[in-house]
Each structure stands twice: as structure tokens, then as C-alpha cells.
Subunit: 375 residues, 2 copies
């Protein structure tokens, strides 16, 4: 189940009240590996967007103070300094901070960039800053809930005149077709068939009847194969209907409360002639626009929408539905979307999707609902 | 890096002083999945050994009280009851205990088997027991350090006349040949080549010189590819020299202190004519012998030695060395073996291997040392 564990975390949902040791064991630790940093640093779309947002908007950085939240290897802090910042505070919770410090020095910027190891919720800076820059976005924007730490940083350390990099973020959803449905259904069925053989053999060979566990086992496997959002790199041709925004965030004003839940009713029209609705794809974009009183000279967009040439390491999140449903061009979907944080782990998410299809003939199909887990 | 995370744990090494939340997030949580339990229940060699040890030694169970440490699905507790136990306490730290309870009831044993959710270090039993049964063995026996909990259970709850199931355990090491060496060296070189391209491009495209991180990156990757013990299912033909015991444990008398370190000097003679020493394989066996005053009627062995037909889910742990060294039949190896717990996580291990080769001609080759991580 990869590098991110679902563990039991008690209490309320904000990052500050999560047991530090547990949060470290479950979340932060992967970021301490250089291999993981390299993966993100090798994402050209991501790198280009941040590089351009800084160097094409030097007026925001020259002679200014900057805070880089979750500096990792230190790349954004280094660029900020190279763009002319007077002082850059680069905060990093893991031991990666030691590599960042070394990298800053090797690039002759130790007089400007101060690397601070610690969590954003706990560190103290000597002063407030003109710019908060951070690459905080997780899968489908909010997985990992790192933005809580950016909001905390903003509320504590951003000057009243300060700007956020990025300044805006949006979540998008669109209906898709995908061969993954059939694959996952097949995997699930194979697992259940294997289970039935297993319970038969355990009864025959070992005298223990495990059939009473078939229901919880099937629920566990169903969740794993059919109800867990998948990472995928969608081809634009897989998007079969108009995409819609389910959340818009102004990074200057949003609160943690605003992002505890994402609730939206969206409409989507099928654009392909005759195809199968296999589920929905979710992605995000962020923009670097500065602020109204102090705008960017060059607005930059970083999008993770399905793309042939400009895919990112974020991919998209895919929410599969089965059986897939035949749809035609002109059919309309009314989708109700609700995303909340997992009770067990605030860095993981749950999505409730409800979809009603109004066929182009006018006929209304009964709605179907499904819950998904972003793990 | 699979389902087991290496996190920061402060303080001393015993399971009781590890932060509970962290231990749960890192270690226990995988055992809460039925899929994982099924994997272990599908291991025929494991199942046969425990089944036979119980049902061919009913005199140890009939009318007796039993404690199953880490009952998981409840299988050992159920067999103990079926073999005639008067009362069985089945302790399980995860929510798997709820499934165990259901399974006990479905097999009509709820009057005999009491499932208790909690850690062995914290639960209280109504009485001391005649038998402690547990399947506690991790890779190479001691990975996961679950045996600490069995020792704790024994010291608190076993009657002075009680028996341990299993009663004995041994760790084995033998020199091996393996194609994995070349593969891992190749993977490592490819990763480093990719890194050099990455640092060049980052300098060219983004003006940041990351070459100062080459050393830590190469250390991180070297550890991952070349210094981490691998799970493998060795073929007996891969064992090129005599196997030797590096640790013997009497489960009735061993203390946690005895197993904090495994230190051994072992000799091994090469048995193949002309081959390459690629490293060492490590495995274990356990025996069910009862105790001197109350022995088993039928002694059962569970071995995880390399086998064509009787492989287990434990496989063996493989410690690769490169470059591989040409050896001949009659060459003797003097190996010094030291295994200790990782400072960061007491459930993970570090191995220091030192090997001196005395060729059959009498010539002594210089010794080489290597450190490995069992993650």
C-alpha cells in the first residue's frame, strides 16, 4: 500500500493536534529521501512554472523577505534569492533541511537563505515576510493537507501587504472513460475466487470454517480495488465531457475551515458521440497572480489537467464506477461532489459522488452514489 | 519501500517504551488487514507445522489453559480449543481481534476462546497459563522484534510448569551465489547515471548546482540497492557452502537482553567445485519440543531453509556482496556476524558481516566487511 500508511489518529483534524511522532512516521518521512525530492525536481512542468513565476516577477522578490514553506531540497528558496530577495527563510520539517543547507552554501547563497529545521506550526521567524512561496499541492490538490501549514504560515508571518506564491488554486472534475474499470473488477473477482478456494481448503485441511469472514474480506478488497482513487496519467481523449470547477481558493484569504470540506454541484455535458462513462477524473491548477494591490507582471499557470506532452508527477486522481454506463453526446450529468478528511488520518480524504444522467432524449436515469477513498 | 516505514523513535529499544501511536502507525497496522492474514494462513508449511505441533501433542492442550500471543485471525487459539483446551486467551493488538472474535463464534468455541484486544504488555489475564503459543517469527527470525512481547507474556503469565510453542528457535547463515548482485549493481549504476543527467539539466535549465548532493544521494541509493537485505526464495543449489547456526534460543529461558544482539563467529566450507561467492543467505527454524519435564510426544520442526517444494512466505534474507568473489570447493570462510537493532526503530535490524577466505591452497585472502540493513 505504498509509502503512506493509514493509521489511527485521535482528536481533531488540524495538523497541529496530530501526534507529532505519528505524523512523522506516516507522512513526513518520505520527504526525507533525496530520491523523492529528485522525482519532484525532475517534473519539468512543475519546475518551469515555479521558475517562471519567480523570474518573470522579480519585482515581488528584489530586496524583499521571503518564506519558503516546506523547502525540501531548498530549490524555491534558492531561486527566490537568485531573483534578488534580501532574506529567505526556508522551513523544512525533515532532515532534508540539512541537504538544503548544504545546497544553499554550494550555490553561494548562505548570506541570504536561512534554512530552519522544524514544523511551520512551531518555528519562530525573526520578522514577517513580503512573500510566502510553497509547493504544497498533493494529489487532487488537497491530499496530504499540507496547505494547512501554509495557511498557518500566512496568518503568523505574512505582512498585511504580502503576496502568496501561488496566489490561487482550483480543483477540477470531469467524466472519463478508462480501461481500468474492467481491470480492477477483474482483479477483485480473481481475489474473491482465490478467497473461496482458500476458505474451502482451510476447512478441509485444517478444520476451521472461515466463511464468516467472507463479508469483511470482500469489503476490504472492494475498498482496495474499486473504491480507492487511483493515480493515473489520463490522455485528453479519455475526458468525455466538459470539465467543471469544484473548488476555488484564494490563497490570501482562505481559512482551514474553508477547506475541511469541498462541496459542489456540477454539471457536465458529454462531448463524445457514443461512449462509456467509467467514472470521473480529478485534477487541479494553481496560478501565480500576485495580489490586486501588487499584481504579477507575468501571470503564470501550473495545470495538472490531462495532457499528452505536459503531464506532471501529480497525474490525476481517477474515481472509477462500475458497471460503466453507456452515454451519448448531449447527455447531461448532474454531479454532487463532497470531499472531506478521513477521520482516522486528516491527511487522507473521502469523496462522495452522486451522479444523475439526463439523456439527450430527455429521459432521466436514476442517480447512483459512490464513496471513494483518497489514500 | 513497502508497507513498513523507518521512522524516528526515541529512547530505549524495548517495545514497551516505543511511542504507541508511532509503533501502531509503523508496525501493527499491516496486521489489521484480512488480506495480510490470508497470506500467512495460506502458507502451507507454516500452517502444517503449527497444526501438527498442536494435534500431535494434545496432552499439552487437553484440559489446559493457553495464551495465544498475537492471535491475528485467531487460528492458533481455535486449534488449541479444538485440541481440548479448557480456556484459551487470544490477545491481539489490532482491530483484527474483532474478526478473530467472530471466527471463534462461527466455529462454536466462544465458551473456550476469549479474544482480548490490546498489547501483550498491557493486558491483564484472569490467570496464569499452561501453554503460550505464538507465531512471532519475522524475516530471519527477529525482524519485527515481536518475540519481546512473547517473552513479556511468558514472564507475566506462564506457570512455572508451562510450555512454550514453539520451544526453540535457531538462526542460520550460509554462503550463496545469486544473480541479484549483478542486477542490483546495474540498477544502482543506472540510478547514478540518471542522477548525473539530472544535475546537469538542473544546472543548465534552472541555474542551480546540485552536484554537492551527489555524495549523500549516492549513499542513500547505495544503501537502498546494495546494503539492504533482500527477501528472496533461494533455490537449494544457490547455497554454495555449509550452513552454520548463528543463534540458538530456548524460548523458556531467553531474555530480551539475550536477543538485543546476535554475535557469532562461524565457519563455512565451500561445497561447489568452482563458483562465485555473491553473499550470504539467512533463515531460521523453530522446533516444538515441549520442555524437559513435559516433552512433546511428537517433535515438530518448522524450517525456512532454502527448499524447492517447501518454501514459506518468509523466504530467506539475502545479504549481497559485490564484487562477487570466485571460490572453489574446499575453500574455507571465517565469518564474523553481528546483528543489532536499529537505533531509529527497534523493529528493524542492522548486520555487520566480516568474511575471511582461506583458499584450499592455503592462501589467505584479505578480509572484507560490510554493513547491511534489514528494513
Amino acid at each position: 500500500m505504498g509509502s503512506y500508511q493509514n493509521g489511527v489518529v485521535g482528536g481533531d483534524r488540524s495538523a497541529t493536534s496530530v501526534d507529532k511522532g505519528v505524523d512523522f512516521a506516516q507522512y513526513f518521512c518520505t520527504y526525507a529521501f533525496l530520491y523523492h525530492q529528485k522525482e519532484m525536481l525532475s517534473d519539468r512542468v512543475r519546475m518551469d512554472a515555479y521558475f517562471n513565476s519567480i523570474f518573470q516577477n522579480k519585482h515581488h522578490f528584489q530586496g524583499k523577505t521571503v518564506l519558503d514553506v516546506g523547502t525540501g531540497s531548498g530549490i524555491l528558496a534558492i531561486w527566490s534569492a537568485q531573483a534578488g530577495a534580501r532574506k529567505v527563510y526556508a522551513v523544512e520539517a525533515t532532515k532534508m533541511s540539512e541537504h538544503a543547507r548544504v545546497l544553499v552554501k554550494a550555490n553561494n547563497l548562505e548570506d541570504v537563505v536561512q534554512v530552519i529545521e522544524g514544523s511551520m506550526e512551531e518555528v519562530t521567524l525573526p520578522e514577517k515576510v513580503d512573500v510566502i512561496i510553497s509547493e504544497w499541492m498533493g494529489y487532487f490538490l488537497l491530499r496530504e493537507s499540507m496547505f494547512d501549514s501554509v495557511i498557518c504560515a500566512r496568518d503568523r508571518w505574512l505582512k498585511p501587504t504580502g503576496v502568496m506564491y501561488p496566489s490561487h488554486a482550483r480543483m477540477w472534475v470531469a467524466p472519463i472513460r478508462s480501461g481500468l474499470v474492467d481491470q480492477k473488477v477483474s482483479d477483485y473477482r480473481e481475489t474473491m475466487e482465490d478467497w473461496y478456494n482458500f476458505t474451502n481448503e482451510t476447512k478441509t485441511n485444517y478444520g476451521v470454517d472461515m466463511s464468516v469472514l467472507t463479508k469483511p474480506f470482500s469489503e476490504e478488497q472492494r475498498k482496495y480495488y474499486l473504491q480507492t482513487a487511483l493515480w493515473n496519467n489520463l490522455h485528453p481523449h479519455q475526458v468525455i465531457g466538459t470539465a467543471a470547477v469544484v473548488k476555488e481558493i484564494d490563497c490570501l484569504t482562505v481559512t482551514v475551515n474553508d477547506i475541511l470540506e469541498v462541496r459542489s454541484n456540477l454539471s457536465s455535458s458529454i462531448i463524445l458521440e457514443d461512449t462509456r462513462l467509467c467514472g470521473f477524473g480529478g485534477w487541479f491548477d494553481v496560478h501565480f497572480r500576485g495580489r490586486t494591490e501588487d499584481p504579477a507582471q507575468q501571470e503564470i499557470e501550473l495545470t495538472t489537467a490531462p495532457s499528452i506532452d505536459n503531464g506532471t508527477h501529480w497525474g490525476q486522481q481517477v474515481f472509477l464506477m462500475h458497471p460503466s454506463i453507456r452515454v451519448c453526446g448531449g447527455d447531461d450529468l448532474n454531479v454532487s461532489f463532497l470531499m472531506k478528511r478521513s477521520k482516522e488520518n486528516h491527511r487522507l480524504l473521502e469523496v462522495e459522488l452522486s451522479c444523475e444522467i439526463k439523456q439527450h432524449t430527455g429521459k432521466l436515469l436514476p442517480p447512483f452514489n459512490k464513496t471513494f477513498y483518497i489514500e
